[in-house]
């Protein structure tokens, strides 16, 4: 860090300036946008998991009142091309070509088949009811194990089996490690399918101007520049003529990172009609067709030596991908990440990992907040508790004995995970102070004496954040790991910032404002941050992989330091001073005694209107653009620990979280308030995964939890208060030292809950290893334990 950098705004719990609008009801989300001559899209979706379209007759539907068009795939082929998920990271991945509307056959329930465009959404839906379709049902492969069974129906015609991708990884000598182990513990963990449920559903308004040959897409999305590249390619429009504008976004959580067929169809419709088209997924469409996540069966074993040191893991993981691999990243990202993250908080040298990904006649699974981590943490922390129990020791003691060492030297574990700057001991210590563990254990004991089943559970985690360019760059996927920021001094002396990270409600604009304010030397209120418009902000990664602070804010900081140098140089030239003697504080240029010499606004005015006052030939640069890509360390490992206290009703099987604690080390904290609320929100999503959320399909491939009355998300009444503490181990590869924080809450909460439930059930001889934990499953486990 430069010697004169002072942190005034950075590190402070400042509320997000941008939320003043939102609390006043003045947010502008994509469904709030109305364009002249705009029409509304609705989709007819496959009611079957697998079916052939034997006959389609649209005559009546097309004649319905208010209808401009009803399109099938054959109508769109001249406008948009199909796509296929391919990634150099997953060689041999089986994922057939995808089309925006079904190409004669549907491979999952919810797949878009027809699109109606009409004056109103209601009229579009009415028209679709008049479409005549003869379906010819085909055998479907639905369940994960069923899809992989030898005689399973083929998910797509011509496939010899339904294996989408497999992988086997070896580290060290797992066979010998397990043969020599003093103790081997084993678990079989199941995680149900779930999805992100952003409160604002997916949506866009597409606007094609054939005269100007410009495509503008107002898109509720995390990654405008990625989508610009896809749209350019799919529609054959030069990328510079594709503008993607991201308005206020009502939550992303990873589900707004992908290419969705219905969205592509809607854009195709806008091009065909040359009229703006609005498509807003309704909640049925969201649950059926937003990217799903999980559906994993993991058999895992952990070997320990006689002293209770972990020596290795053996993991056999099965993952249901759905009918295709999500475009563009690929569905193996989640399971592949999970596989390699097993055991991440601990030292171990030996590893065997096997992964089998199944195609299924179901919606696709893909990246959802904290991609893969909750799976790995659940597996690992379950095994750790089993081992501690088998050894008759405290789980925290076993963890402490095995933590990867802190410090800068990277430690590479048996699974190939490269870890550095982790602080498990410090985090656990902070947790113990936060929780007052002896007191909580006493609470548990006395409640049990009174016949109540309380449980306390802990889960340590590593969260790989702020992914570097080598991941998607080498895979050949147009997802940028770099960020760019442009800054300009306004006449008022304010600083305007346009950044390639995307604000999706996580508050990254506030973090950037604080970084720019300190970097330049202006009050934080005088920094305005814009994001999410490919015509206005420079190219960069957007919002994914907890990168806003670690990459986006670093780019902003570096830009700010350059702008500051430019400002001081211009001021020095103007004042005839040595620029080393000047400083910029709170928007005022001061000399070495701290005396005010020039307001930044005055300098901006001189540059704009009275440039002749500056020395001959000197051109002040009060605006600039800065590009930043981290050039080492593919991931920045953040780490932490969570704990849960809960009560299990032994008679009804209901689980009630009572309190939850989270300690997180995400490097330097730019704004504690933002980090704490990211953690809390993530924890509750994780509790949802542990206790409620399940996209349950019947054996016939019908989604049984297709509304929010059946797909249960956490609501306020059942959620506990969540106490948060920070440990800060700044990353020394950047100026700010921030790592990612946005996903860590989700990573460990399911494991903390599962461990706490098992702690509560242990005296009754019962245990569970599947999430979500249904009350019926609790009672069944108790029954078995008797």
């Amino acid at each position: 860090m430069e010697p004169r950098a002072r942190f005034q705004a950075i590190g402070r719990s400042l509320p997000r300036a941008g939320t003043r609008r939102l609390v006043a009801g003045r947010g502008r989300y994509v469904d709030d946008i109305v364009l002249p001559r705009m029409v509304h899209a609705a989709f007819l979706r496959s009611p079957y998991p697998h079916a052939r379209l034997a006959r389609v007759d649209l005559t009546v539907a097309r004649a319905a009142p208010g209808v401009l068009a009803v399109y099938a795939w054959s109508d769109l082929q001249d406008t948009v091309r199909a796509w296929q998920s391919r990634s150099a990271a997953f060689p041999g991945l089986v994922s057939p070509t995808q089309t925006p509307l079904a190409d004669g056959r549907c491979a999952w329930q919810g797949e878009p088949v027809l699109m109606a465009l009409a004056d109103t959404r209601a009229a579009a839906e009415d028209a679709l009811e008049l479409a005549e379709i003869e379906w010819e049902e085909l055998p479907a492969a639905v369940g994960l194990e069923a899809a992989l069974a030898p005689q399973a129906p083929a998910v797509h015609p011509g496939l010899a089996n339904n294996v989408a991708w497999t992988k086997e990884t070896l580290g060290g000598d797992p066979d010998e490690a397990f043969a020599k182990a003093a103790l081997v513990v084993e678990t079989q963990v199941h995680l149900a399918r779930l999805t992100g449920v952003t409160l604002e559903p997916r949506g866009l308004v597409a606007d094609w101007d054939p005269a100007g040959e410009t495509l503008t897409v107002h898109h509720s999305h995390q990654m405008p520049h990625q989508m610009q590249a896809h749209f350019a390619e799919f529609f054959g429009v030069p990328a510079e003529r594709v503008r993607v504008v991201v308005p206020d976004v009502g939550g992303g959580f990873g589900l707004k990172m992908h290419v969705y067929p219905d969205e592509i169809a809607a854009i195709a419709g806008a091009i065909k009609l040359a009229r703006p088209v609005k498509f807003i997924a309704d909640r049925l469409e969201s649950l059926a067709s937003d990217i799903h996540a999980r559906e994993h069966n993991v058999r895992a074993r952990m070997a320990l030596d006689g002293e209770g040191h972990i020596v290795g893991f053996d993991v056999d993981q099965r993952h249901g991908a759905g009918a295709y691999s999500v475009f563009p990243r690929g569905s193996p990202v989640e399971s592949s990440a999970a596989l390699h993250l097993v055991g991440a908080p601990y030292r171990f040298a030996h590893f065997r990992g096997r992964l089998t990904i199944a195609l299924q006649n179901k919606a696709m699974t893909g990246q959802y907040r904290s991609v893969g981590h909750p799976i790995a943490v659940l597996v690992t922390e379950r095994l750790v508790e089993l081992a501690a129990c088998a050894r008759g020791e405290d789980g925290l003691a076993l963890r402490r004995r095995n933590f990867t060492p802190p410090g800068e030297t990277p430690y590479v574990n048996g699974a190939g995970q490269r870890l550095f700057d982790v602080s498990h001991d410090a985090c656990l210590l902070a947790l113990e102070r936060l929780v007052d563990v002896p007191r909580v254990r006493e609470t548990v004991r006395s409640a049990r004496a009174a016949g109540r089943a309380l449980g306390f559970g802990v889960a340590c985690y590593v969260e790989m954040t702020a992914t570097g360019a080598e991941a998607y760059g080498k895979a050949g996927v147009p997802v940028s790991a770099a960020d760019s920021v442009s800054l300009s001094v306004e006449l008022s002396g304010a600083v305007r910032c346009a950044a390639s990270v995307t604000e999706i409600g996580q508050g990254v604009t506030q973090a950037l404002a604080q970084a720019v304010a300190d970097g330049v030397g202006v009050p934080v209120e005088r920094v305005l941050v814009h994001t999410g418009d490919t015509a206005q902000v420079p190219h960069g990664g957007g919002a994914w992989a907890s990168r806003g602070a670690a990459i986006g804010a670093e780019a902003a900081w570096l830009a700010a330091r350059r702008l500051r140098r430019n400002i001081l140089e211009a001021a020095a030239r103007l004042l005839g001073a040595d620029d080393e003697s000047l400083d910029l504080r709170d928007g005022t240029i001061v000399d070495h005694r701290g005396e005010a010499r020039l307001e930044l606004s005055e300098l901006a005015h001189i540059a704009a209107f009275r440039g002749y006052e500056l020395p001959e030939g000197f051109q002040p640069q009060l605006s600039l653009m800065h590009h930043y890509r981290r050039s080492k360390d593919l991931f920045l490992p953040a780490n932490g620990v969570q704990a849960s206290l809960l009560e299990v009703d032994l008679h009804t099987g209901l689980v009630r979280p009572l309190r939850h604690w989270a300690v997180c080390d995400c490097g330097r904290v730019l704004n504690p308030l933002l980090v704490e609320e990211q953690l809390r929100g993530g924890v509750v999503q994780g509790i949802g995964e542990a206790l409620y959320e399940e996209l349950r399909y019947g054996e016939d491939g019908h989604l049984e939890t297709g509304t929010l009355a059946e797909y249960l998300v956490p609501m306020a009444a059942e959620m506990p208060d969540i106490e948060v503490a920070h440990v800060q181990t700044p990353y020394d590869g950047t100026s700010l030292g921030a790592k990612g924080a946005g996903e860590a809450g989700v990573a460990a909460a399911p494991a903390a809950i599962l461990n706490a439930v098992n702690d509560a059930l242990a005296p009754h001889g019962a245990a569970l290893d599947a999430v979500p934990i249904s009350p019926a499953a609790v009672l069944e486990a108790l029954e078995r334990g008797r």
């Binding site: 839906e125 309704d282 019926a776």
Partner: protein, 270 residues
């Protein structure tokens, strides 16, 4: 997800309303609070040709009579919940209503609507059954009264004819010596119950002497179990048929029924 096209009528009098029902028969749907009907319309699970909005009819009154407490079909859940007369004369409803959905739904949903819909997991029908309420139905041939036990006939099925309107639910006034208990098992507050129990019981010296237990969420309609002792209630409850789903299979629901019975009767005897 937009409601299908329908026609809408808003009668200003009961006679007008019934005339509309007579005219349109099963093509018509009565719109009261709309808190269940509207989701079904938005999801296009129902496509009625006519909605008869009865919200302008004078059916909101909660009136204390000599023998009964009469709750107008259009009384909103919130009005019933916060009514002093209900708390006094039908305290079971006050115990049950906080479990009915959420604040905004209670502000709009109606007492009569909940009964007329007859969702097997709903709280109010079970209370009506436990309290031996009678349902006042008005049709083209005038009014008739149907006791709760005959009103609920099956899954979303009641004694209401297609040309009849539920105008009132009359509850016998709470009698001295009677106590009430209500519990339900739901994963989240306000959800439809996995299983629930509304109970009225006469207690003497801390001992239950007579009880009416109305279980809900366990069959196609609320199920009444009567008994003169906890032991008898147990025996009869154990014989009750319990339905289930994949997530909440019958043996699980059966256990919940037993747990509810024990919890509610012990809370009543306490």
């Amino acid at each position: 997800m937009k409601a299908p096209a329908f026609r809408y009528a808003r009668p200003e009098s009961l006679d007008e309303a019934i005339a509309l029902l007579v005219e349109h028969g099963t093509d018509a749907r009565v719109l009261a609070g709309g808190q269940s009907l509207m989701p079904m319309l938005n999801l296009r699970l129902l496509q009625p040709s006519v909605l008869v909005d009865i919200n302008r009819l004078p059916l909101s009154e909660i009136r204390l009579q000599d023998q009964t407490l009469d709750i107008g079909a259009l009384a909103r859940h919130a009005e019933v919940l916060y009514s002093g007369e209900v708390a006094h004369m039908a305290p079971l409803l006050k115990l049950a209503l906080p479990h009915v959905a959420h604040l905004a739904v209670r502000n709009r949903g109606t007492h009569g609507g909940s009964c007329a819909l007859a969702d097997p997991s709903a709280e109010i029908p079970a209370c009506a059954l436990a309290l031996e309420a009678s349902f006042v139905l008005r049709g083209p041939r005038g009014e008739r009264r149907v006791p709760a036990e005959l009103f609920f006939r099956g899954l979303y099925e009641t004694a209401l004819g297609a040309d009849e309107l539920l105008v009132r639910v009359d509850y016998p006034r709470a009698q001295p010596g009677w106590r009430y208990g209500f519990q339900e098992v739901a994963r989240r507050h306000g959800d439809f119950a996995i299983a629930g129990l509304a109970a009225a019981a006469r207690v003497e010296g801390g001992v239950l002497r007579e009880a009416r237990l109305a279980f809900f969420g366990v069959a196609d309609r609320p199920v009444l179990v009567r008994g003169a002792s906890v032991e008898e209630l147990r025996e009869r409850t154990d014989k009750m048929e319990v339905s289930g789903t994949r997530v909440y299979p019958p043996p699980f629901r059966r256990r919940l029924v037993r747990v509810l019975l024990e919890r509610v009767t012990s809370s009543i005897e306490k």
